[in-house]
Symmetry: none
Subunit: 136 residues, 2 copies
DNA sequence: TTGACATGAAACCAAAAGGTTTCGTAATAT
DNA sequence: ATATTACGAAACCTTTTGGTTTCATGTCAA
């Protein structure tokens, strides 16, 4: 349970398209920096910096082989992203379910196949026509 | 197939911790800007800017009510993130996943709008025990 | 009306991000 | 030995980001 209090977190690491491409590239196999950078329209140094950001986020690991340094994907930290997403999943599933009910005009309308607790999101507006927020 | 070629994508939108907190806050119910900003240690204007970034990524929707503007969560765009993650899930789920993938040898992937390139598959690793990369 | 409230636009600023080129150093090849 | 290759560190530059304060405008309350 080492706290990864490093400078870059997973969310920030994957924000850049180049870095996402790097992850895909490295998911295939491990590669040295020069080979990696040959896939990108920027300097090797720039790619190297991106690799460092990924490394600080724990998303890649490096290993020295002779004079080269090979990088490989380390997917585990992506789980944080996944669990973060899980929280919101029920919201869109709920919305989709609601839409489905409307479209199908199902008179019963309460079939939720996911078994996930429904969020307390108001799908309909308040009844008050003025809709004051803070009556003072 | 509306191409979401706006300035901010989902990946970038959720990179900022404040914006992630905003999404959580708004997942509960819709809120006007002033109320939202009271939850954050920064100016209302700053929060407003974050809301705009989220809006450009399609993650929140606004609605005018009297003199206030209420924001609410719009979770659908997060599905892009989820499907992006799905690709990597196989890698972390168990160590045999990579092998399995090689065996199955999925012939073609399709690139999407998020800068993701399909990995070029090489089924055989270098045989040289010295592990030279570029024999010249 | 007049004043208070809710909000966005604008101008501004410091720091971070993303890139470059140059250089030093370790490992390999000849 | 000597040249070549692989790489990171450093210095530098430009653009973006995340924040601020100030101001204008629309809406509501008295």
């Amino acid at each position: 349970m080492a706290a990864p209090l490093s400078k870059h977190d997973v969310f920030q690491a994957i924000a850049d398209p180049t870095r996402r491409e790097l992850l895909h590239l490295l998911s295939d196999r491990e590669m040295p920096v020069t080979v990696i950078s040959s896939h990108f329209p920027m300097s090797r140094t720039a790619v190297s910096k991106h690799l460092r950001v990924l490394s600080e986020a724990g998303l890649v690991k490096e290993r020295k082989v002779g004079r080269e340094v090979r990088f490989r994907l380390e997917p585990e930290p992506l789980q944080e992203l996944k669990s973060w997403l899980t929280y919101f999943e029920r919201y869109w599933e709920n919305k989709l379910a609601a839409l489905k009910r409307i479209v199908e005009a199902d008179p019963e309308g309460s079939s939720d196949a996911s078994g996930i607790a429904p969020p307390r999101q108001r799908l309909v507006a308040a009844a008050d026509p003025a809709e004051r927020t803070e009556p003072r």
